[in-house]
Subunit: 123 residues, 2 copies
DNA sequence: TAAACTGTATTATTGCTTTAATACAAAGAT
DNA sequence: ATCTTTGTATTAAAGCAATAATACAGTTTA
């Protein structure tokens, strides 16, 4: 997997986002075993310590469950995953609209840009 | 003015974004004199050095013009401001849609969220 | 002309993030 | 039973961002 890390944000934050995305999009499904800290770190090309911290954040959010010596799994509770997904989506929508307002864009312009980006006539 | 700085990003980046917003939304209009580095820094509650660096980024983008000892002004070239505004808006739209895809959302869900956030029946 | 203000430059220090190199205890695998 | 793998913890070092405290040269202003 290409983790596509850059320097615009702390690496740990980027790892956290990526892991969330993997779970939210079901590429790591409910109950699935997650690769070990060391494997993930090696794959992403980062220090195991950094990956460990990212995973701990996921655990704090309740998205993953840790079995001390037997590895980690995605939570089996679909509600947690789905409500998290909805919450995040809502937040990012708000954030997007705020940024557009900050640029002084009107609703019509926003709608127009979205249509264009989605390649649709009717939004 | 409330600069609303947090710790999610480097302060300099946040200052840059805020200044861009002020210009893009015409709160600092074309040709307008910009407050001094020290005044802006004092207002934002940051170190003058940090504000200075943010302003230099704006200058690199061509949004402000510096008159060595006589302060800074917003560029008088409306084209620069407007094309920058459009470019940013496009980028942020792309970014938003990418984030939504990363969460595994379908177009219908995205549309629905946008309608809800904009408080409109028809988007 | 003198004082205040402009952007800019420099140096040092503090704190955070990341990397690095280990170490440990518990469970699984052979 | 031994070896490997698991998550976790610790300590040190390097790099970067932000702050702090100045200093300088040129322009405005009083």
């Amino acid at each position: 997997m290409d983790w596509k890390l850059d320097e615009s944000l702390p690496i740990r934050s980027q790892l956290t986002e990526r892991l969330i995305s993997l779970i939210a999009s079901s590429r790591y499904g409910p109950g699935d075993r997650i690769p070990s800290v060391r494997d993930l770190a090696s794959d992403a090309g980062v220090n195991p310590n950094t990956m460990q911290r990212a995973l701990c954040e996921l655990e704090d959010m309740g998205l993953v469950v840790t079995n001390r010596t037997a590895g980690r799994c995605v939570t089996e509770d679909i509600n947690i995953i789905d409500s998290f997904r909805r919450k995040r989506a809502r937040e990012q929508t708000e954030e997007f609209l705020k940024k557009m307002s900050a640029l002084g864009l009107e609703r019509n312009e926003i709608k127009s840009l979205l249509k264009e980006a989605l390649g649709e006539d009717e939004l």
